[in-house]
Amino acid sequence: MSVILALAEQIEASAIGVAIAESRYAYPVIEGLHLIGLSISVGLIFLTDLRLMNVFLKRVPVTDVLRHLRPYVIGGFIAVFISGGLLFWSAAARMLESPAFIAKLIFIALAGLNALYFEFVIAQRAPVRENHSLLPTSVRYAGMASFGLWTLVVVCGRLIPYLPA
């Protein structure tokens, strides 16, 4: 762990890290882009989850929701990862010492695994591909898991400044 922390301190002390941390506007603007990117990517995932739970846009086929929203979810994620990476760059050591940041990374990984399982296993089954009106309960559970995990990601992210080491 001390090796990782030493590395984090080096990242933070690099030219870009210091530039972001010391600029009056860079840090808040990157925070703002992180927020907007997450509203689009995670926000559209929330709406997709509500569709999988069968409580939102019931008459729109699940495959349409998945396919039509995908480019915007991915686009939003690119903005989130770039801005998040820059924020980490400027405060790497502090981030690694915050339990909220570590928890956030774990929940992102779990949400990602859930999405992959849904995409490559559940969504490949005939009832989903053929847009049956009655979908298997596994679809609903995948939506609930995604909704819960992404909520935890947002909660942990907001708690980072409140839960320092």
Binding site: V29, S39, V42, G43, L47, D64, H68, L69, R158
Partner: protein, 157 residues
């Protein structure tokens, strides 16, 4: 009563003390509700916009998509307004004189006016010309994203 006296009165009220004098995680809880509300608002708005622009669910009637999504937009606005008001009540002087907060309130007013005057008409009216629809969707999204950006700046300015 001057503005400053009003702000002092709010800051000394029982509600303000209840929020600010308890655990600091109460403030964090309000921030979390504020973010979740904003995510609901912006994502639903993006969804209606994509539909109006013909980028998603073209085969579905606009009225249906707009009705369900608009409900979530208002739910998101309600959650952000409620949590935001409580945050303001806890430390009104901190917010009132903050230039990012002042900018955010101006942009919020603009976004709501745009929403009621342009966007609602576009989302409910299938005969709106594509050019009018594109412009009103663009202005509306720009206004709401600016509100989010200005809001995120409050803590840093």
């Amino acid at each position: 009563m001057t503005t400053f006296e009003v702000l002092t009165w709010i800051q000394d009220s029982a509600l303000a003390h209840a929020i600010s004098k308890t655990d600091h995680l109460v403030g964090a809880g309000l921030q979390i509700i504020h973010v979740m509300g904003l995510v609901a608002l912006l994502a639903s708005l993006v969804l209606i916009s994509l539909h109006v622009l013909g980028l998603a669910f073209k085969q579905q009637p606009t009225s249906e998509i707009a009705r369900e999504s608009t409900r979530l937009v208002w739910l998101g606005l309600f959650l952000t307004a409620l949590s935001g008001t409580l945050m303001f009540v806890a430390t009104p002087k901190l917010y009132f004189y903050n230039p990012a907060f002042q900018l955010k309130m101006g942009l919020l007013l603009l976004a709501i006016v745009v929403q009621l005057a342009l966007f609602r008409r576009t989302a409910s009216n299938t005969t709106a010309t594509p050019a009018f629809a594109r412009v009103s969707v663009g202005i509306s999204l720009a206004a709401w994203f600016s509100v989010a950006m200005a809001g995120r700046m409050i803590g840093f300015i």
